[in-house]
C-alpha cells in the first residue's frame, strides 16, 4: 500500500491538476490493455519514466514494483503453462505500466484534491467523499494491523508456521479483528458525519478549488495525441516497422 500513499513534495508532477494525472493513468492503462507486443509495451513503459523521475518518486516506485515480485512469478508460471513465455513477459510489462501510472497518480494527488477531481468528473459527492475517505484511512488501518499483530504475538501467536493452508488459516486471528475494528470505525465515522449534518444541503461549497493551467492543457494534448497514435497503430499495424511485433519463440 506504501506505493499509493500521498507524499507532500513540490515537483512539477505534484503541482499538475489531478485530472491531468488521472487522464495520464487512464490513457496509459488503455494503451497497456490494447497492445500485447513486448516492444510496444516496453516503449510505453519507458515513456512513463520521465514522469516518475520528475516527481522524485523513483524509490517509492521501485518499492512498489519489488512488492509485486510474487505476482510476477505467478504470471510467468501460469502463462508459460497455459500460454507462452512471451505472453507472460508482455503481461508483466502491462501490469507494471498500470501500477506505475496509477501509483504516479496516488503518490502525487492529495486526498482532498482527489475528491475535487472526482467531483469535477461529475461523480456524486457522496461517492467521491467516501472514495477519498477510504484513502485517508489507509495509514490508520496499517497502524491498526501492526497493533493487532503485536497483540496476537503477545499471546503466543506465531505467524510463520506450517504449510500454505495452515499459513492461510493463520491469517484469521489477524483478519477478523482488523475487519471488526474497521467496521466499527466506519460506523463511528458515519455517526460523526451525521452529527455534523453531512449531506444536509444539496449544493455545497469548497474551501479549495483545482484549476486547469497551461501545463495541464499541454500535457493533455500530448496524452491525447499519444492515445490517438496508439489507436491508429492498433488499427493499422503496418504503421510501425515490423521489428516492433517481434515475439519470443517460446
Amino acid at each position: 500500500m506504501e506505493a499509493f500513499k500521498f507524499i507532500q513534495k513540490k515537483t512539477i508532477i505534484h503541482i499538475l491538476d489531478p485530472r491531468t494525472k488521472l487522464l495520464l493513468a487512464i490513457i496509459y492503462s488503455i494503451l497497456a490493455i490494447i497492445f500485447e507486443e513486448i516492444f510496444i509495451l516496453f516503449f510505453v513503459f519507458l515513456s512513463l519514466f520521465p514522469f516518475i523521475l520528475a516527481g522524485q518518486l523513483f524509490k517509492k516506485w521501485i518499492k512498489s514494483i519489488r512488492g509485486m515480485t510474487f505476482l510476477f512469478l505467478l504470471l510467468i508460471i501460469f502463462n508459460t503453462l497455459f500460454s507462452t513465455f512471451s505472453r507472460s513477459i508482455s503481461m508483466i510489462i502491462r501490469i507494471m505500466i498500470m501500477v506505475s501510472s496509477f501509483s504516479l497518480f496516488f503518490l502525487t494527488v492529495h486526498p482532498d484534491d482527489l475528491m475535487l477531481s472526482l467531483l469535477s468528473l461529475k461523480v456524486p459527492y457522496n461517492i467521491a467523499f467516501s472514495f477519498s475517505l477510504s484513502f485517508r484511512f489507509v495509514p490508520t488501518i496499517a497502524i491498526e494491523a501492526q497493533n493487532i499483530i503485536d497483540a496476537q504475538k503477545s499471546r503466543g501467536y506465531e505467524m510463520e508456521q506450517g504449510g500454505l493452508i495452515s499459513q492461510a488459516r493463520n491469517l484469521i486471528p489477524l483478519l477478523i479483528p482488523l475487519i471488526v475494528c474497521s467496521l466499527k470505525r466506519a460506523f463511528h465515522i458515519a455517526e460523526s458525519l451525521d452529527s455534523r449534518a453531512f449531506g444536509s444541503t444539496k449544493n455545497r461549497t469548497y474551501y479549495y478549488s483545482i484549476k486547469y493551467a497551461k501545463k495541464d492543457w499541454l500535457l493533455t494534448i500530448i496524452l491525447i495525441s499519444l492515445f490517438i497514435f496508439g489507436v491508429i497503430v492498433k488499427i493499422f499495424p503496418e504503421f510501425l516497422p515490423t521489428w516492433f511485433y517481434w515475439k519470443l519463440k517460446v
Binding site: 497493533n147 503485536d150 504475538k153 503477545s154 499471546r155 503466543g156 501467536y157 506465531e158 475494528c181
Partner: protein
Amino acid sequence: MEKKLEDLQILVNNLTYHYPDGTIALKGVNLNIYSGEIVGIMGKNGAGKSTLIKTFNGLLKPTTGVVYIENDEVNNVLMSKLTKKVGIVFQNPDLQLFANTVEDEIRFSLKNLNFTKIELENQISLTLEKFKLKKFQNRTPFTLSGGEKKRLAIASIMCRNPEIIVFDEPTIGQDAEGVKFIRNLIKEKHSEGKTIIIVTHDIEFAIDNIPRTILMADGLIIADGPTNKILSQDQILNIGYLISPQLIILSKFLIDLKIKVPEDVYIKENMVQFLGSYFKDKMGITEGGKP
C-alpha cells in the same frame, strides 16, 4: 523492600530504538525492575512508554543497548519463549478477539504451551471461572460488553501464567466496577509474587495502586522513585505533562495552612482518618458530627 541483585528481573541498559520511518522513540534508557515489584510507567503521549514495553517481550528489537529478561538477552531468545515470561495486556481488547466463542479465545492463547488435552481443558475452565466468564463460555466474544471484553482480553494473557505482567492503560474506558476488578487483580498477582508493570495516564489510580513510578519524556526516563514523591514535584510533573493527584494537592494546601500532616496522606483511607481525627481534636466534633 530490600532489593537484591538476584531478584533483578528486567535490566535495560542504554536502550535506544529507532522506528523504520526514522522516529527515535528511545534515546538511551536505563532501568532495573526487581521480581515482585509493581511499577508504573507514566509520561505524555509519544514519550516512548509503549515502545519500551514492547522490547520486553521481543515485539521490538533494540536498535542499540540491551534488554535482559531474567538471564536472557531479548535479542538472543525466541519470541515464543519471551511471551511465556512476559504477558502484555493491550489497551484495546478489540485488537485481539477473533474466535467463535469465549472459550476458544482462551484456548488460542494456550495453544503453544505444550499442555496435554486434560490440562488444557482444566486451565480453560479455571480461567473462565476466575474471570467470571463461565456463563459466556459458548458465546461469541463480539457480543460481550466493553468491560467483559476487557476481562476476556486480560484472561487470555493471565491463563498463560507469565512471570511479568504488563498492562497498557488498564483503566481506560472502564467503569468503577472494571477499575475495581483490575485493582484486585493487581493485588492478587502481586501477592503471588508476579512482577507487574502498568503503563498509565491515570494518576489517581497510580497513587492508590502503584508504589514505584517511572516517568518518561522524549524517549528518556526523567524520574524514577516512589509514586507519591514523583507526583508531588511540580517541576517533574510539568516536564511529564501530568497534574498532581487530588490528595497531594489537598495535603500541600493543608501544609500551606501550617497544619502538620503525616507523610502517607496521599492514600485515601489515611487522609480520611487524618482529617477525621484533626476535626475531632481542633473543633471538638464528636461521632455523629455534632460539637
